[in-house]
Amino acid sequence: MTRIARRPLTPWLLIVPSFALALFVIGYPLYNIVFQSVHEVSRFGLIRGFCGLDNFRKVFADPIFMASLWRTLWWTLGVVGGTVLVAVPVALILNQDFYGRGVARVIVMLPWSVSLTMTAIVWRWAFNDEYGMVNVTLQRMGLIAAPVHWLATSTLAFPVEILVGILVSVPFTVTIFLGGLSSVPVDIYEAARIDGASGWQQFRKLTLPLLRPFINMAIVLNVIYVFNSFPIIWVMTQGGPSNGTHILVTYLYEQGFRLGKPGEAAAVSLVMLVMLFAITALYLRIQPREGGEA
């Protein structure tokens, strides 16, 4: 121990290999994307020539891109906000000791074990007009008279996709919250009860503040996942009808692999990277610093 402390170079040398690997793994694709974004690239990935910021200009001049950009913010806000709102009570319930808790936990976690694409395909079928489970159930229950065309218009399809997004994000978020709740000492609740605090007060004054760092982590991680989440929207509507459900990542895919414009797709991905950085930094900044967390 003391030898290492005397020679401060050693720790650096020890992390160099992994640092170099990380730099290569992150740096090389990033370099490639930046390179592509300032070049004219053919459909099959050949560089045709330098074009400066043309790709960015073209992308920003596209009204579909601007609409997708705003929709991405709504998508992220909707899914992450909804997920946290659902996950907090679910985690609180699953943290209680009750008969069958293990089974309940498994059921909540199950959607996590299915791949996102599969979940999306299942929901695409479930929302089918003619034979989808959702319409059939609603009709049998007498809630609707005729089949609702869920995915035929973007006004219905996009909220449906947000709901599916929430469903698949809940398990991960609940896991984080359960971990957080298990670190909350039980005796403070006892003390609070003796002092006459109501259940709501206990939640507001004890649980929520102590859960705060975990909520923050869940929000930041979910923002990153959801912002970049591709399968749900692509599988269910491919950004349609009439481009009404495109978010940036589906727009990017369409540019790159459907319309054969890898250069513009690279530009979009850089814009997304900058946005993610900005959102995350902004969020961490507006969070009040935790006092006495040490």
């Binding site: 099959f44 050949l46 349609g240 692999f257 319309l259 054969g260």
Partner: protein, 412 residues
Amino acid sequence: MKVCLTQRLTKVAVALTAVGLAGFLAPAAQADTVRVTVAYYSDQTEPYFKQMAAAFEKANPGDAIQIEMVNWDTLQQKLQTDIAGGSNADLAIIGTRWLLDFVKDDMAEPLDGYMNPAFKNRFIGAFLAPGQISGKTYGLPIAASARALYYNKTTLTKAGFPEGPKTWDDVVAASRKIKAAGGYGFGLQGKEIETDIYWYYSLWTNGGDVVGKNGKSAFASPAGIKAATLYKSMIDQGLTQPGVTNYSREDVQNLFKQGRVSMVISAPFLAKQIKKEAPTLKYGIAPVPMGTSRATYAVTDSMVMFKNSKVKATAWKFLDYLFTKGPRVAFTSNEGFLPTTKEEAAAPQFADADTKAFVNLLPSARFAPTVTGWEDTAKAVSDAMQSVYLGKAKPADALKAASLIADKALGQ
């Protein structure tokens, strides 16, 4: 127990290493290895190409054929990554509409030097033409299909059209009767790939065109407005399935198989699917309904040779083999495509009424033109049609807007 397991694991590891090494060394001993990227058409595709490779290797000792199978959806992505990384195969199946980009980037080998007149003469001319760009042949038609109207014989007979509708007016009249009897008449595709094509059927048969002779978009025309208005009015009268923008090509075909829509325009493979999945369904195949003229859509996929291939001679030998009668008949009948060579067309496998119905339509078939910007045009038109179907835009306005977008991309 533990020792035993470790020992066994070691044995397995040694065996695996030996197998791996053998696999690694074996191809090196061969003279030429030709890598072929093929698209997944059905579960028949891979066994077929494996069989062809084995037969070829047997006839040409020393040479090896390596088949790489990719899904259609990811084919473009795979080619893109392979080409950018310089690790592309020697031969590949591509959508013929991509050929222009291949030629522009100087990646495709012109095949005219390898072809003698006899080889060229094997093909049905209409199918070879799309693979030719400025007088040179770059792609050979490995797969071809055309479109026709499938109709439900039971419901259409009741509606008074036992031979299927001849014109769009017939389609409307028949759909009205079918609607009154509680079904959906005309299946209209409104989302995902080929939403544009589904509208072109109506555009072409009403005398319109997608791209004009000047290379600019031509669909925002009176014929275009007529075609779009026809579909929209059918939606409004409830003559199609409701919520058309929620129906992809497969979704509409499924409704047809279930007997819920009575007419759908599709390719030969639907007949194969019906025989397998809905054997009791009585269907007929008729030409795409007429407006003022007759038209259908035809499409080919091409086999190309890469310019950077180091084994061109062997690759060509394999191509030559694939386009002889036996392999062609097997491929085309397996997959439910149309014959692209003359010998193949004469084979008894294609003498059935279904194939004949499609082949008869070929004289009036339109191919996707080999122009840049076709994909952008397809997207602009699909978006425009969706907003028309949803009632968000009037046909004339939607088409005008789409034509502006298409003109920016066409010929660029």
